[in-house]
């Protein structure tokens, strides 16, 4: 099914304050689509986890915040990209409790659980791209 991007905004992630800005932009998009409070909170929380991953492990990056629509429904899609060291073992990184930093390892797996669609692409040495989508 064809997916149309109704609105798109790119936000840099290079400081801790940027994580707050990402959360706010995601909240605005979710509200603009009429997401209920629980759905808003889920996508905002997922965005916070992934933005922090991009900053802490990827050395910073960007997120594309998109309002998308196909024939039957609309949603918020977030595409995080960094040019960091990449993830050698994605399956391992998606395991609950796995962490390469000092977190609790809930970032990737938690963001996946809070989304309807989740895609990850990573190559050691080139960076990581994570895309999540939550439908209304």
């Amino acid at each position: 099914m064809a997916m149309r991007v109704l609105n798109s905004e790119s936000i840099p992630i290079s400081t801790a304050e940027d994580i707050v800005r990402v959360r706010q932009a995601v909240r605005r998009s979710a509200v603009s689509l009429g997401f209920g409070i629980v759905d808003q909170t889920k996508i905002v929380t997922a965005s916070s986890e992934l933005a922090r991953n991009a900053l802490d492990y990827g050395g910073g990056g960007t997120v594309q915040v998109e309002v998308v629509q196909n024939e039957t429904r609309s949603g918020v899609r977030l595409v995080f990209e960094d040019q960091g060291p990449g993830i050698p073992d994605i399956a391992l990184a998606l395991t609950d409790g796995y962490t390469s930093g000092n977190g609790m390892g809930l970032g990737l797996s938690g963001a996946k659980r809070l989304s309807h669609e989740f895609d990850i692409w990573s190559k050691p040495g080139s960076g990581t791209r994570v895309s999540i989508l939550r439908w209304k």
């Binding site: 994580i19 629980v38 808003q40 909170t41 905002v44 809930l106 938690g110 659980r113």
Partner: protein, 130 residues
């Protein structure tokens, strides 16, 4: 530097988080609270998060760290006012904030705080049985 205010009321410290915290602000709060506990000889810490629209794993971890550090400094912590949508999201994220005492509002939180201070006191006063 931006800081979250800590109010002292008798032997309690009260914190109301009203801003969308960035990570450094959360860490500053953690440091300020632990030094305030010692300085004011506080027995209880009440953290009101009713204005927080989101608690991610970082903030959740910070709340857990504050509760653990406070306990080591002989103070009890109660987190109050979590929004239902935040609770739902936290559990789905995989964080159940185990080890953190919670209450629905400030009033219930103060009651919980007083009773956990009493319990902690009783444990500490218990004489060993030989």
């Amino acid at each position: 530097m931006e800081r979250i205010p800590i109010l002292k009321m008798g032997e309690y410290l009260l914190v109301t988080i009203q801003v969308d915290m960035h990570d450094r602000l959360a860490l500053t709060l953690q440091e300020d609270l632990t030094s305030q506990i010692v300085k004011s000889r506080a027995r209880g810490v009440l953290i009101d998060i009713s204005a927080l629209e989101m608690v991610d794993s970082f903030i959740g971890r910070m709340l857990g760290a504050i509760a653990s550090m406070a306990r080591l400094l002989d103070a009890q912590t109660v987190v109050v006012g979590m929004q239902p949508s935040v609770a739902i999201t936290l559990v789905e994220l995989g964080m159940s904030l185990q080890g953190i005492r919670t209450a629905l509002d400030v009033e219930k939180g103060m009651v919980a705080l007083m009773s956990s201070i009493r319990e902690a006191g009783e444990d500490g006063d218990a004489s060993p049985e030989f």
